[in-house]
């Protein structure tokens, strides 16, 4: 599988990179709006593996135009895709790269068509930094598994070393929530808890411009993405930016010793691609429950989010 992916990436054609086509096509209008609202976390970037969200394609015919697609989706998008396509569709010969965190969602029928990716730093050592950059969105899915109070759990000691903390917490609608919950104060809770844990002197940025200005002024820094669950986005552009600029992720990065491909994305960060270990698959746990319920034609990431069984299984498995 890795040889195949390597060949596809080495011999890519610009016409096979969806973000180069300058055509914005989405599965539905709701996702188009969500994609725009969650900017700059959803900002597009280049890699020959074609990083994109599953709902940035109209349908399986659209996806099938690309030899390889690296899915930036979080749990919902990956699950939704494999529930819809538990076996590879005959109309799609695409190979997929999915986030390593959700290795367990790959059905065994997709053997030889799926590999895993992780975005990591290339730096082997970091100088001690005094500035911390924290980013995230205060919406329901950020706290789906991890309540707000646990966001900074285990990091208190690390956080205490920083003299200056900047937080990018833009206000956004909780799109996945039920209408009655859409404007619940997830954002306020995030702020309250951040002030409580990080201190009263934190700089909270509502717009990316001011956050970016602070970032450009820092030559050594650490960063932290409050989204641990990765329910909506796994491959977050701000993470890329932080790694590209040489920042140290407060979350420990685990060095993998398995067979892998590596592709540099900048002087300071890279993508690692590894094979799927199908012994870890928990896909059937989700699939069987959905089959029993009868997966409807209007199944979507939005419906999955509101499905209590899905949430329960997610909390158990990830």
């Amino acid at each position: 599988m890795l040889n195949k992916i390597n060949n596809l990436i080495e011999n890519f054609d610009k016409n096979e990179i969806s973000y180069k086509k300058m055509i914005n096509r989405f599965k539905d209008g709701k996702f188009e709006k969500l994609f725009a609202e969650r900017f700059p976390f959803t900002e597009r970037y280049f890699f020959e593996g074609n990083p994109s969200f599953s709902y940035e394609y109209k349908d399986v015919f659209d996806m099938g135009r690309y030899p390889v697609i690296m899915l930036r989706d979080g749990f919902l998008g990956i699950l939704d895709f494999f529930l819809t396509h538990p076996k590879p569709s005959e109309d799609m010969s695409t190979n997929l790269l999915i986030p390593k965190q959700f290795e367990g969602l790959v059905p065994t029928f997709w053997k030889d068509r799926v590999a895993l990716y992780e975005v990591k730093t290339r730096k082997v050592a970091f100088e001690k930094s005094k500035t911390l950059f924290v980013h995230g969105v205060g919406v329901e899915e950020t706290f789906w598994k991890n309540p707000c109070e646990t966001l900074y759990a285990g990091l208190e000691e690390k956080i205490s070393q920083f003299d200056e903390i900047h937080c990018f917490f833009p206000t956004r609608t909780s799109t996945f929530s039920l209408p009655k919950d859409r404007f619940v104060n997830f954002h306020i809770d995030l702020l309250k808890h951040s002030f409580k844990t990080l201190g009263n002197d934190i700089n909270v940025h509502e717009t990316f411009d001011t956050y970016n200005t602070a970032l450009k002024a820092s030559d050594k820094f650490s960063f932290f993405n409050v989204d641990k669950s990765k329910v909506f986005i796994s491959d977050n552009f701000i993470d890329h930016l932080m790694l590209k600029l040489g920042g140290e992720d407060l979350r420990d990065q685990i060095e993998s010793h398995e067979e892998k491909l590596e592709f540099n994305l900048s002087l300071n960060h890279k993508i690692e691609i590894t094979n799927v270990d199908f012994s870890k698959s928990v896909f059937n746990n989700f699939y069987l429950k959905q089959r029993l319920k009868g997966r409807k034609s209007d199944a979507s990431i939005y419906k999955l989010f509101l499905d209590a069984d899905v949430k329960k299984e997610f909390e158990k498995q990830f």
Partner: protein
């Protein structure tokens, strides 16, 4: 004589332009004396104080000199024109330093031309070819001058005291030839071509095996603006990284370095042997990094494109080798066969670098440029007669197509207007 220097007091995002403005101010201070200069803040947001306009009038400023890259003088001049009673005063001279992005703001330059018609106007470009380029846009050629953007001799000069230390840090052998490029690592700077040319030089043993190419600067996403082509974030890095890895045996010969602080550059230039650039950027009116490197006494291998062609010392012409370029359909065409002979010639030179540095500074330092600017300031010119026909035509395209004014509507290629005006960059 009282003069007004108009610029943004706040530093630009475009760092090289901040340096240029700062050094131009020093040059003009040398010419006119600080006591005769009125500093006027004209911000990037196009704001300025009405009281500054009044001061210009009350102190009877005789020359208004625009020394910043943006914004264009249009808003300022329009306001001054109104303050002067609906016509700019003829008792003043209006001197405008033109930067490389001149064609991108033609609708504004149109308004500047309108406001200054019939007045004493001078446009100063940083290089001979930029002067030839800009001259095409006006009816009179004698109102366009050239004077290099000055380099501070306190910042860039020969000093090899840290040569060994820098080379050790970069893991470059003491006796190795170190080629350096500094600037944006951008599509039109032709970094991929640069890497490929360097590999070719290694293959053909034009450079010794332990030679290195040091690329210093930030990657950007600017593609070919005129053709509406831009890159995604990270795309140009991937292109360069792929080019580097096409020859695994030479990967260690290429060093990509994060951007350096301005004050670190002198040491890195002094640690290097040749400044190497085959860029063909659409607004390469000068090349501040080249000027700075040149002032450390470093020989140059450059394309003869646009502003690069001015980087020669009349007393030591052998220290710059130019690679010919001609206009292409989508990108200027570099005569790549000339690169290895040029590198070979440069590497065979024997010279006293300190002496060369001193000599180069005679043409590019703040003091040297102050002399050029003084001469320009004292030159009499006729009243400004307005825009040329070509400028009118290009401006009309700019109104409809914005930055893509030089793009054919039928193909992804440059149009006749581009070929007509940009010929000045290759002649």
């Amino acid at each position: 004589m009282k003069v007004a220097l108009v610029y943004a007091f706040k530093e630009s995002d475009w760092f090289s332009c901040t340096v240029i403005t700062k050094n131009l101010i020093k040059a003009y201070t040398k010419i006119f004396g600080e006591e005769n200069i009125l500093h006027v803040n004209y911000t990037y947001e196009r704001e300025f104080k009405a009281e500054d306009l009044k001061k210009i009038q009350d102190t009877k400023v005789e020359k208004i000199i625009f020394v910043d890259h943006k914004p264009t003088p249009v808003n300022f001049l329009k306001a001054l024109k109104k303050a002067d009673g609906d016509e700019l005063s003829s008792d003043r001279e209006y001197i405008i330093h033109v930067f490389g992005d001149f064609p991108l703001y033609l609708t504004e330059w149109r308004s500047v031309a309108e406001a200054t018609e019939g007045k004493k106007v001078k446009y100063i470009c940083a290089s001979e070819k930029q002067k030839n380029f800009v001259s095409q846009f006006f009816k009179q050629k004698d109102i366009v001058f050239h004077s290099p953007f000055p380099v501070s001799p306190e910042e860039f000069y020969f000093d090899d005291s840290k040569r060994s230390e820098i080379r050790k840090k970069l893991r470059v052998d003491e006796d190795a030839k170190l080629f350096i490029f500094t600037g944006r690592l951008s599509y039109q700077k032709r970094i991929v071509d640069l890497v490929e040319s360097f590999y070719d030089a290694l293959d053909k043993q034009v450079v010794p095996k332990n030679s290195k190419l040091l690329l210093v600067g930030p990657f950007d996403s600017l593609g070919m603006v005129y053709l509406g082509q831009s890159f995604l974030s990270g795309e140009y890095f991937r292109l360069v990284d792929r080019a580097i890895h096409t020859r695994p045996e030479y990967v260690e010969n290429i060093i990509i370095h994060d951007p350096l602080k301005h004050e670190e550059l002198n040491d890195y230039y002094n640690a290097s042997d040749v400044f190497f650039s085959i860029g063909t950027y659409h607004d390469e009116d000068y090349g501040m990094s080249v000027a700075e490197a040149f002032c450390t006494g470093m020989p140059l291998v450059l394309t003869n494109w646009a502003g690069y062609f001015s980087f020669k010392n009349p007393e030591k012409l052998e220290l710059t080798e130019f690679i010919p370029v001609k206009l292409g359909e989508r990108l200027p065409i570099i005569n790549k066969e000339s690169i290895n002979p040029a590198i070979s010639k440069i590497l065979q030179l024997s010279f006293d670098r300190k002496e060369v540095s001193i000599s180069n500074l005679k043409y590019f330092s703040i003091d040297a440029c102050a002399d050029f600017l003084k001469e320009i300031s004292e030159t009499n010119v006729g009243n400004f007669a307005g825009r040329s026909e070509i400028m009118i035509r290009i401006t009309n395209e700019n109104v409809f197509k914005y930055f893509e004014m030089f793009k054919k509507d039928t193909d992804l290629a440059f149009n006749k207007l581009y070929t007509e005006v940009y010929q000045a960059y290759v002649e």
